[in-house]
Each structure stands twice: as structure tokens, then as C-alpha cells.
Amino acid sequence: MPRKRKQKASSRVSARAVTTVVVMRLYIANSAPNSAKAVANLAAICKEYLQDNFKLEVVDVLEFPQRALADGILVTPSLTKLSPYPSAKIVGNLGDRASVLHALGIKH
């Protein structure tokens, strides 16, 4: 039964590829300059390419250091793409848009 359902889901994904929800997590160091830039850069990318088809969690490592440690994140800002597969890790203020889009698997 689960196998059947999975098949169904995947066929749905391929049919509506454009509307796949991208799940991401952005680690920032509060309002540090590069972190602020990353938040702004990511917001612009999402608006232009993903519309509403994304889920973003922003983690402030100054506030939740243990969480960053558990996730293996030390350099800020860092963006992790959790789904769809393959996952990706991007380090930096996301100023280089082409590399961000490539890593997120967004065609442009």
C-alpha cells in the first residue's frame, strides 16, 4: 500500500514540477551584515522564482547555538535545502544568484 501511494505522489510531482514546494533553512547570526544580506537576497530569489511554493525556516544561531551545532552549521550565513532531493548546502550571503539557483535546482 505505501508503495502504491508513493508512486502516485511521484507521478503527481512530475506532472506539476513547477509547483514543487522547496523546503529550506537559513542560519544567520542575528543582524550581522552578511546575515542581513542573505535574508534579503533569499527573499528576492523566492519572490521571483518560487512564488509561494517554498517553506523557509530562519534560525538565528546567536539565539539557538545548540541547534546550529547539532545541524553541523558553523559558518553564517548558511542556507540548507532540505527537500526536494538532492539536498544542498550554500554558504555565504547568497549574493551570487546564479550559484544559488543552481544549488536549489531552480531553472531560469
Partner: protein, 569 residues
């Protein structure tokens, strides 16, 4: 800076002496050096030691290697922490996987916040940033790099931890500009280096900066052993070995006699000679004698296994096997092919610590010069002998010299100057024979024989025989035997001559005695004759006067006539 700089020992042998106490407390130390120079080992060993010795917790941030690689490397050393202390060492895997995408600038603000939280959680007093250059070069921006270095410096000062930062450096000029600030911001800078010399890697350590402290400048050799890194710190300039007056046997009686009743306890003895002059036999005899006295002994040989040595020595009556079995004797056979002198030193030092011997043999010490430079081997030989003497061990080392002249040894390891006793073995070829000769070149503080002796190997061990000099030549072997034969023949002849002379004299004496006896008999006879004659004569006189009286009576002469008669005649 009102407070004197406090230093924390690293536990790295030799380094704490060089730095006069260790690393600066609450300050930052920079370790720079090429790949494989031992930066990570130095940093990790310092942390492990802090936990073991003082229960100080530490954080190890690895930028270059993954946490697994770090722990795999650490596992090659005896650094296992007791279970209760394991939570005191925290390794942070900060290396970025190759899949990580770089997009624009980043900074270390987040990382430092995370580390601050961890510091508070475990009460860390130490932090290591291992391979910080790997992260900084990802910034691809010198200004950003400078900014982050500055950020780390501020953070470290604020955290109050003692820190070690390691960075790759190959000594190029580009890097000087690059890490100039890194060197400036740290209080202590240590350079580690690694280079190949004759195919053997040589590790070096140098303290190039130590703010607010004296330090021993100069480059020092580094070696790696089971306990980690060890720095060949210079020996104390003052030699402080106590002088013993106790004597120990050099192996056998005749040699002891030549040395004026043996070797001094805690002294060092050097035996030199060309290959095949029985250096190992003498060394084996020394070791056997030590074991027989019940003293723990260490026998180090190079390029020859313990088994063959035991067998070969047994053929000349030296039995080492029982002592190995009883645990009194430890035999170690080292390989010299592409093993640096420093590594030998480290191994021997650890053997000394393990076995705690009273006597030690290194056969041959000259083997340590086989791989690597001679200068290094010389320094190591010196340090080794001093280290052994520091432990109060009586040591006997052998050295091969390729010429027959003992002076040639002086150009080799130069240990003859520090050895207390120097015995030289050589071959003498005379009359188609090769014989071994033993001489004592020096023996400090004791009378010793200046004679050359022939070393003879019998089934019951080495023996020393007197040599003969004839016509200015030393005689050995068969020539000695012939000489001894002649000497024996002469003795026999002399004895026979003496016997002959004695019997002659005895005969003469007997004859004289006989003559004396005869004369005495004559004398007695003559004396008797004389006595007889005297008494006869008396008798005659008496009888004459009696007859005259009778005659007078007969003739009736008066008394007066009788008296007047003698006057008339």
C-alpha cells in the same frame, strides 16, 4: 601588564623546557608550518595533556579534517582519555564538504556564538582552531580575511581561554603578507617544519616569538612516538651526573684487571673496531655479566635480530637466552633503513622507561647514522648517552670504524670524547694470520693498562692473552704460540742445566765432606799417638829415677852424693 605571564605546560617533552614553562595562559599561540609538520598533533596533545593533568576541558575546532579523521589520527597515539574525562574534549567538525556551494561573503559571527555556548556548557579553558587558513581562503578576499582574524582575536580575548591556532605556511613571501596579522595578533608563534634529508623526514620546531617571555631560540628536532610529539630540547649546559666509585665488571676478569678492576657504575664505554673484531662478543659478555649480578639489562642491536645474536654468542659460551626468559634481559632489534636518528632516540628512550635497566648495550650505535644526516646522528648519539647516564645506567656502545686506526672514529659519531672508557679492537696480520688485538685507549679516572692484548675467542668465552714483541713487532696467534713454545723449551733447558749444576756442586760438597772426615780421622789418630807417646815418656822418666834410687841403694851411696851429682854435670 602588571601580572607576570603565566604559562601552562603542554606535556610535550622538550617543548616545555624550550619555552620555559609551556604556552601562555589566556593567550593565543600560532602554530605554523607546512603539511605534515605536526601542527595538529601538537595542538591535540596539548589538549589531551590539559585534560589528563589538570582536568581542563577543551574544544577542538577542525577546519581541515573531519571529526572522524581527527579521532582516527589521535587513536594512533596513547591518548585514550579515562571515561569520566571524555566529555572534557569536544571536537567540532567545521570542515566544509566539497559539495558546499559558495555564494557571496560569510563570516564567523555565528560560529563564534556557537563555540561560546559550548565553552559555557563544558567550562572549556582551551580552544584549538586547527587549519584556520582553510576557512579563511574560502573568503577569497584579503580584507574579509583580516576582518575575520580580527573578529577571532576579539572573541578569544573576551572568552579568556588559552588558544592554539594552526595555519599552513610554506615560507613563501605571499604568505607573509597574508598571515602577518595573524602573527601579530598572537602572543606566541611556533614554526614547525618538515624536510627530507637523505630520504628521511626530519621534523623541526622553532619558537619565533613569545611576547613577554624569554625563550630558547633556535631550531630543534622533533620526533613522534606512541606518546605523541617530543622535542629534542638542548641538554642542560651543566652536566650533573653524580660520579659513582662503585665498580662493575666489564665482562671478564682479565679485562677488568686491565681497566684497574672494572668499569665505573653509570659510566659509558665505547668499543670501536672494524667489522668482525668481536665487538658484539664483548658487548654480550658485558650484558651476561650484568644479568648474572641480577641487574636488569637492555640489549639494543641494529640490523641483526635478537635470535641470531643469542645463537652467535652462545657459540662462544655467552648464554643470554635464560636471562631473556627470566625477564631480566630485554633484547630489542631495530631496523635502520630509512629510520631517522631522532626516531631511534625516541624508541630507545621509551625502552629505557619501560624496562628500567641498570646496564645497557647498543650494538652498534654507529648504525643510527645510516639514514639521515651525520650531523643529526651525532647530536642524537650525544643526547642518547647523556639521557642514559641521567637514568643512572651503565652503558656500553659499539661503533664500527672502517679504518683500522682508532682516530678515524673521531670523524664519525664523535662519541669518543664523551665516552668514559674507550676500548679499541683491531686486526693484526702477521705471518699469514689475522688476529684480534685489544687496547684501552682511555679510561677516565682510573688506572688502566697500556698493554696490547690478544683477544682469543674460546668455547667458554673471550680471553685475553699477552702478546710478545720481538724485533719491534707484536706477535700474536701462531707466532705467539711459537714464541710461547720457544719460551717453554728454554725454561726446560734452563731447569735441566740447573739440575746438572746442582748435582755437580752436591758431589763436590760430598767429596769435601769426605776429605774433612778423613783428615779428622788422621787428626784423631795423631792426637792419640801423641798422648800415648807422652805417657810412655813419663813412665820412662819415672822408671829411670826409680832405678837410679834403687841403684844408689844397691851401691849404698850417701844422700849427699846423690844431690851433688846434677851440679857437677
Amino acid at each position: 601588564m602588571l601580572q607576570a605571564l603565566r604559562k601552562i605546560p603542554t606535556g610535550i617533552k622538550g617543548f616545555d623546557e624550550l619555552s620555559q614553562g609551556g604556552l601562555p595562559c589566556h593567550r593565543t599561540t600560532l602554530l605554523k608550518g607546512g603539511p605534515g609538520a605536526g601542527k595538529t598533533v601538537f595542538a591535540m596533545q596539548t589538549l589531551v595533556n590539559a585534560i589528563r593533568e589538570r582536568q581542563e576541558a577543551g574544544i577542538f575546532v577542525a577546519f581541515e579534517e573531519s571529526a572522524q579523521q581527527i579521532s582516527a589520527n589521535a587513536a594512533t597515539f596513547d591518548w585514550a582519555l579515562p571515561a569520566r574525562s571524555r566529555n572534557k574534549l569536544f571536537t567540532v567538525d567545521a570542515h566544509l564538504s566539497p559539495e558546499t556551494v559558495h555564494s557571496g561573503e560569510f563570516d564567523l559571527a555565528g560560529m563564534l556564538a556557537v563555540l561560546k555556548a559550548k565553552q559555557e556548557a563544558i567550562g572549556a579553558q582551551w580552544i584549538v582552531f586547527d587549519g584556520i587558513d582553510v576557512l579563511l581562503t574560502l573568503l577569497q578576499n584579503p580584507i574579509a580575511e583580516m576582518r575575520e582574524i580580527y573578529r577571532i582575536r576579539e572573541w578569544l580575548a573576551d572568552s579568556g581561554m588559552s588558544a592554539i591556532i594552526t595555519a599552513k605556511a610554506d615560507g613563501s613571501t605571499a604568505e607573509v603578507a597574508h598571515y602577518g596579522f595573524l602573527q601579530f595578533m598572537t602572543d606566541c608563534v611556533i614554526s614547525l617544519g618538515r624536510r627530507l634529508e637523505h630520504g628521511v623526514p626530519l621534523h623541526r620546531l622553532q619558537i619565533t616569538k613569545y611576547r613577554g617571555s624569554d625563550f630558547v631560540a633556535g631550531e630543534y628536532p622533533v620526533s613522534f612516538g606512541p606518546a605523541g610529539m617530543e622535542v629534542g630540547a638542548p641538554e642542560p649546559t651543566e652536566i650533573t651526573h653524580a660520579a659513582s666509585t662503585e665498580r662493575v665488571s666489564a665482562g671478564f676478569e682479565r679485562l677488568d684487571t686491565m681497566l684497574g678492576s672494572g668499569l665505573f657504575r653509570d659510566s659509558s664505554t665505547l668499543i670501536t673496531g672494524v667489522p668482525g673484531t668481536s665487538k658484539t662478543t664483548l658487548a654480550g659478555k658485558f650484558a651476561e655479566a650484568a644479568c648474572r649480578r641480577g641487574e636488569r639489562t637492555l640489549f639494543v642491536s641494529f640490523d641483526e635480530g635478537a635470535g641470531p645474536i643469542q645463537r652467535n654468542l652462545a657459540s662462544v659460551g655467552i648464554q643470554l637466552k635464560p636471562h631473556v626468559k627470566s625477564g631480566l634481559l630485554r633484547m630489542y632489534s631495530g631496523r635502520t633503513e630509512s629510520v631517522g636518528a631522532e626516531d631511534h632516540l625516541l624508541k630507545l628512550k621509551s625502552l629505557l622507561r619501560e624496562h628500567r635497566p641498570r646496564c645497557m648495550v647498543i650494538d652498534p650505535l654507529s648504525a643510527i647514522a645510516k639514514a639521515g644526516g651525520i650531523a643529526v646522528a651525532r647530536a642524537v648519539a650525544n643526547r642518547l648517552i647523556y639521557a642514559v647516564k641521567d637514568e643512572g645506567v651503565t652503558v656500553l656502545v659499539t661503533a664500527i670504524n672502517l679504518g683500522d686506526e682508532p682516530q678515524i672514529e673521531a670523524t664519525d659519531l664523535q662519541i669518543s670524547t664523551i665516552a668514559d672508557t674507550w676500548i679499541h679492537l683491531s686486526y693484526l696480520i702477521r705471518g699469514g694470520e689475522r688476529n684480534r688485538a685489544l687496547t684501552i685507549i682511555k679510561s677516565r679516572g682510573t688506572w688502566h693498562s697500556n698493554q696490547v692484548r690478544e683477544l682469543v675467542l674460546g668455547k667458554s668465552g673471550p680471553l685475553l692473552a699477552d702478546v710478545y714483541t720481538a724485533g719491534g713487532e707484536v706477535l700474536m696467534g701462531t707466532l705467539r704460540w711459537e714464541k710461547e713454545g720457544e719460551e717453554r723449551a728454554r725454561t726446560v733447558q734452563r731447569r735441566a742445566e740447573f739440575e746438572h749444576k746442582r748435582s755437580e756442586l752436591q758431589a763436590a760438597e760430598a767429596a769435601t765432606h769426605a776429605r774433612i772426615k778423613a783428615l779428622q780421622q788422621d787428626l784423631a789418630r795423631q792426637q792419640t799417638g801423641l798422648t800415648m807417646y807422652a805417657s810412655e815418656n813419663q813412665a820412662r822418666i819415672t822408671s829411670t829415677s826409680e832405678r837410679e834410687k834403687e841403684l844408689r841403694v844397691i851401691r849404698s851411696a850417701d844422700k849427699g852424693n846423690g844431690k851433688a851429682r846434677p851440679d857437677a854435670t
